[in-house]
Symmetry: C2
């Protein structure tokens, strides 16, 4: 800025006024602008951010980007922030609670304007000074949580299986010991089964158990070459794909012998076919809402939890009645 | 910092010295550290970055995150930067040349320490003051380019098809009018076909043409219910998956009637099976090299192009001889 002042033959204060859009005589303004062009001077945005207490930067805490659900969510959050002229710091956490806390502390030091987080640390301490929006997990007062309607999704899966003619179904999931929104898929599914008088069995893997348990469960339930279920609801598309591969090896046909519904709505290669019949999360709408909430004034009247509607699509692993 | 000085009963200069790790009497240091703890004072890293001319931040320009190749690459770049205690600004560009240029200009204003970019703007102007590493496209002197060995990958695909017993093959690709490294897959494939005396036909879609052309090409080459190729090399896994679906609808069996090899090494859901038999890009190694090069002193002796080795995996769309 000193060079600009010297080039324009004006005081440093005048340059500062022009750069910050404050009123200044037209002749001085022209001189400064010419000097800026000539010197190819760039406003140092960090210095500006520091002054205004705004950095124009939002951080996203997300477990990883190789899981398509996380990467597509990240993509849409990035685009929604760009539309608001905001930059995004990407912080992958690999489900590591300590790393999540480290990030939040680091981000506080760097004075980001806000954080959007899909986190797993039940004790995550977020300073009140940073606007925070949580995905899929309620983090207490003042922090809005955005999720799809997981309960309704579970119920919809049960109702669909009933509509598609199933009589006895299985529910396969990995269990998270952490209270979170996706856990409500279970209650929704049970509710749907009860209301439709659908018999069901459940297998829930613990945090540390491997998918091999699904193989064992299915093998146990194969009697005289036939599976004792005609429908399976898997709590994620990932488990559904795994289970479909296992069934194939067991010579059980999907959807002829058993129909399978997953959850998430993941598409192959991002924009090809759905991986399976599934309950679709409205990922783009969730991303947009996270960003909108970050910029919304907090108020006591603001809801704690925002649930966006899910939908069902057939992805070839169910027998739709045409 | 004023509050800390006042709390500790020392001068502002003493606080500054302690915060910046400069020598100061032990008693003063203890006083300042106690005041910092008491006031829960956080070092403002932007102010620090400004002073040192370092922000601890690297920007990544990438087309999108819903394409698994981009999202997995982004994941590994993020982790490699984290290992160096660097933050990453994520900038998705949607293959928009103007947006790429806007980002580079914005990033210059914000004084990031460097940029890693997978870009498509042939005229992208990168200021010399910002270290830049390009992925998949040579951008001229001083900017290193990281890619897999695309030529070798194309050649390997041809050799594999020959080894697997193919006599007449097709090469399907989308063409980019922009000079870039992946374009070398074509020359490598032709080279491999010539050396193995493999007959080949080629279909190259223009930038704006849709995948429908692949359908038409394959239909034209189905004579008396038989495809006139016994092998197909697709320039990406995405095209391979598309083509496999088309072949299925045409009642042509993969791999029994025709073997298909793709390129990229994408796995379903990030860590499940490969989508098809494919030439695997070493994505993690490419990410690590991008980050390493960013921190390497530029020198005239530094290579312009870094090609990392590819490998072949069978993903069920070829008939391996066992």
């Amino acid at each position: 800025m000193k060079d600009v002042a010297s080039e324009a033959g004006v005081s440093l204060g005048t340059v500062s006024k022009v750069v910050n859009g404050l009123p200044v005589g037209e002749i001085y303004k022209t001189k400064v602008e010419e000097a800026i062009r000539k010197l190819n001077y760039h406003v140092n945005s960090y210095a500006q951010g520091l002054k205004a207490g705004k950095t124009g930067t939002i951080a996203l805490l997300i477990p990883n980007l190789w899981d398509p659900f996380f990467s597509v969510l990240t993509h849409h959050i990035n685009r929604a922030l760009q539309a608001r002229q905001y930059r995004m710091l990407l912080c992958t956490t690999d489900f590591n609670a300590a790393q999540e806390q480290e990030y939040v502390t680091m981000l506080q030091n760097n004075k980001v304007d806000g954080i959007i987080g899909l986190t797993c640390n039940p004790a995550l301490a977020v300073p009140e000074s940073i606007p925070f929006v949580s995905i899929d997990r309620s983090m207490g007062s003042g922090i809005p949580c955005v999720a799809c309607d997981n309960f309704m999704g579970g119920q919809l899966a049960a109702e669909k299986l009933a509509d598609l003619g199933c009589r006895r179904v299985a529910f396969l999931r990995t269990g998270s010991s952490l209270a979170n929104e996706p856990n409500k898929r279970k209650a929704g599914f049970e509710n749907g089964c009860l209301s439709r008088k659908l018999k069901y069995e459940m297998l829930i893997l613990g945090d540390e158990e491997s998918y091999d348990k699904f193989d064992a469960f299915l093998t146990e339930h194969k009697i005289d070459g036939k599976l004792s279920f005609d429908g399976i609801f898997c709590v994620t598309d990932k488990i559904a794909r795994y289970v479909i591969n296992v069934l194939k090896k067991m010579n059980i046909r999907v959807p002829e012998d058993v129909q399978v519904i997953g959850f998430d709505g993941i598409r192959q290669l991002g924009d090809f076919d759905y991986l399976c019949s599934t309950i679709v999360q409205p990922v783009q709408e969730m991303a947009q809402l996270c960003v909108d909430l970050l910029f919304q004034e907090a108020s006591p009247a603001r809801p704690q939890l925002y649930c966006l509607p899910v939908s069902y699509v057939c992805g070839g692993t169910t027998r739709e009645i045409t």
